[in-house]
């Protein structure tokens, strides 16, 4: 296992960043997914969408250059790049729902071998609300769940989600610090593995059934 959580998160973010191609429109969720932006390879021009109303989102502003009218979906002040533009919430979700966003990357409370995920409510305990997540996972062309492999020792990749769903059968890929899974019509397939773990360790920490790809690769991070 990888005990250092910050290291684990960086492994995940780095791996996901390698997935994008030039000029793709990508939406990164709050938290771990936001870190993906820091690892996009040089020469790959990824266009970031922020569902509150912009594409071409740039990094945080330099001190003294903050503009409270330019914020991201987490409410933080950001910048806009030369190729960016602004729009209202209806247009923003038309882009999202209408399959114009190539990738959405988001976290999950639970994700399962059928590609369903739960990310917005723990009944009786925590109810942040779904925000834009339900639209994003239904609308984006590719849905990547970024998650630590376990939480307090418990697996996050389940046979079937137990919490209320964000959406069913929508996840294409799950990236953890231990490996990369693809959701296929036949079930979950482990396609990449971190060099610092083993298939047995992954099995021991995964509730879901999965096959190991014939073409299993080492996770490049």
């Amino acid at each position: 296992m990888i005990e250092d959580i910050e290291l684990a998160k960086n492994i995940i973010a780095k791996r996901i960043a390698r997935e994008f191609k030039n000029n793709q429109l990508v939406n990164l969720g709050i938290g771990l997914p936001t870190m993906v932006a820091n690892h996009i390879p040089q020469g790959v021009n990824v266009i970031l969408q922020s569902e509150n109303g912009m594409i071409g989102m740039g990094p945080a502003p330099e001190p003294g250059k903050e503009n409270p009218e330019v914020t991201n979906a987490g409410g933080a002040m950001v910048t806009i790049l030369p190729h960016g533009c602004y729009f209202d919430s209806a247009t923003s979700f038309a882009l999202i729902r209408g399959k114009h966003v190539e990738y959405t990357v988001l976290g999950a409370l639970e994700v399962d071998q059928e590609g369903s995920l739960a990310s917005w409510i723990i009944p009786g305990k925590k109810v942040p609300g779904m925000g834009g997540a339900m639209d994003l996972v239904v609308g984006a062309k590719n849905v990547i769940v970024s998650t630590l492999h376990t939480e307090r020792g418990k697996p996050k990749i389940l046979k079937k989600c137990r919490l209320p769903l964000t959406a069913r059968h929508v996840v294409n890929m799950i990236v953890t610090e231990l490996g990369v899974f693809r959701v296929t019509p036949g079930g979950l397939a482990l396609i990449e593995i971190n060099k610092d773990t083993t298939i047995d360790e992954i099995r021991a920490n995964t509730e879901a059934d999965f096959i190991v790809s014939d073409n299993l690769k080492t996770m490049e991070v």
Binding site: D88, G131, P164
Partner: protein
């Protein structure tokens, strides 16, 4: 000629207990803070608030929740305002959670005279409860219905005296949608200009949609 500018008393007289109010903004960005000050000062109770999120306890629409002036909130996200969750658990606040894109379309439907819209969002989740499901071309959709309000309070970066509104950067969000979906629409103008001063291609809310203009007192 257009006679749309109102003062604090005029605005306060529009606020009634139990009314449905849409409030523009996204986590406080593009929110009419001065108008919210006045709703707070009015002490109006049992409001239904329609808003993207409940912002923060000390900012934007979240202040109305914190002041316990709302009986109901229709919104997509409450995670940044602990008061919303607390009152919901205590049973004093009714919270209807709506996916953000669906919230936008439901408000748009009301403004555009549409009877509803079919969305794939929420199918197979608790969001589908109580809703009609319609299958088109082999795909299941939820029929989502229009959402309208008695009053919309929106924020405009630049507003001309005819009511045309320009929104800077990400302050746009729900403001132009809400400006179409309420019986009375009040815009808080950060900058108030003469007709003709705004580029007509930049205007996102045409003047006739705006009932009243209030000059912002934001710092």
């Amino acid at each position: 000629m257009f006679d749309k500018i109102i003062n604090k008393n005029d605005f306060t007289s529009l606020i009634k207990d139990g009314m449905v109010i849409m409030v523009g903004g996204f986590l406080g960005c593009g929110t009419p803070e001065t108008l919210i000050d006045l709703v707070l000062a009015s002490g109006a109770k049992n409001l239904t608030l329609i808003c993207n999120d409940t912002s923060f306890v000390d900012r934007g629409v979240g202040r109305l929740v914190a002041a316990k002036q709302a009986a109901k909130v229709i919104t997509s996200h409450i995670g940044t305002n602990p008061e919303t969750g607390k009152q919901m658990v205590e049973g004093t606040l009714n919270v209807e959670l709506v996916p953000q894109g669906t919230l936008a379309e439901r408000i748009r439907c009301a403004g555009a005279g549409l009877g509803g819209v079919l969305t794939p969002t929420g199918v197979g989740t608790v969001v589908e409860e109580g809703k009609q499901k319609i299958t088109v071309d082999g795909h299941e959709y939820l029929l989502e219905l229009p959402l309208r309000a008695d009053l919309a309070i929106i924020n405009g970066s630049s507003v001309d005296k005819a009511g045309n509104v320009v929104y800077n950067a990400t302050t746009r969000n729900f403001n132009p949608l809400m400006a179409m979906a309420a019986s009375v629409v009040v815009v808080e103008a950060e900058k108030l200009v003469e007709p003709g001063a705004l580029m007509p291609e930049l205007v996102m809310t045409p003047g006739p949609l705006v009932t009243h203009i209030f000059k912002s007192e934001k710092r």
